[in-house]
Symmetry: C2
Subunit: 148 residues, 2 copies
DNA sequence: TTGATATCGACAACCGTGTTGTCTATTCTA
DNA sequence: TAGAATAGACAACACGGTTGTCGATATCAA
């Protein structure tokens, strides 16, 4: 009874694969959103997605390989590689949003609009609560020894 | 808005760590439940959790290492290693359930009993729908090329 | 009884996504 | 200008999944 979102994300992934974006995973879409919302380089992306800059750099690398973002040295600060979402990247994002919309609509048909909204509110509360403490990286994989 | 369950599972993991069960992850609890519900060996566990038997065997290995299950050759079929949950394993499961209960109660305080139930029903629908097609392993990591 | 076939579990190699830790290049600051 | 901070690259590793192979055991059919 715990796997609700996994389910949703997995289905969206599958559907996207079916529509011409294979080998795209939730992480990638997540990263693209963060980039579009202002993350301009690997370090920023890492901070935005609560992940080390190394992990972010890797995600960017695959995103670049697959043609969803491009990088270019920041003329103002030559340490930085500025990120730009390509045309294909934007297409992916729209398609992803469409897929999600469809899944949501489907679910709404199944359970009713009211129930769905309620459920979304609950989940919102859930993630909202600990969004505060997402600042520290390393919560999920490595150090679970939560001594504060 | 997508990370609801991750959140829940992560918090439970952290709390369990705090209570004397560090290095326990959702997978482990998941596996223990499957074992308690009848999975008697690695292959069965794999089938029960929609994972290859190799992955299941690994999970079992770490579970055994940490002292949560023990294994013993099945006298009736000497290919099989029968799984038994140890005392410590049962303690972990109770503790896990307690933690979950607490988290659920906390959430219920935040959003109200009615909303929570509604949300659970929605999620139930969500996973219920595709529980039917969980039979094929390899949905999440490898082959997302969903051509049926 | 024997031989083909299926299953169990182990092992090895690999992938994806995360982590540390170290390093160089660059920029900021006192 | 010296020192500190930051960006990003690289390497090594962990974890949890995958495939593929293999020997040992069971099972089923001639």
């Amino acid at each position: 009874m715990l796997a609700g979102f996994r389910t949703l994300a997995d289905r969206a992934t599958i559907e996207l694969g079916r529509r011409g974006y294979p080998d795209v995973r939730p992480v990638h879409d997540f990263a693209l959103h963060a980039i579009r919302s202002g993350a301009q380089n690997a370090s920023e992306l890492g901070r935005a997605t609560s992940v080390t800059k190394q992990a972010a750099a890797r995600t960017i690398a695959t995103l670049e390989q697959r043609g969803y973002v491009s990088r270019q040295v920041d003329p103002a600060d030559r340490r930085k590689m500025r990120l730009m979402i390509t045309e294909r990247g934007h297409s992916l994002m729209s398609e992803g949003e469409a897929v999600f919309e469809e899944l949501r609509n489907q679910l709404e048909l199944d359970v009713g609009a009211e129930a769905l909204e309620q459920a979304e509110a609950v989940l919102q509360t859930l993630v909202g609560e600990n969004a505060v403490r997402l600042d520290s990286p390393g919560w999920s994989a490595g150090g679970v020894d939560g001594d504060e």
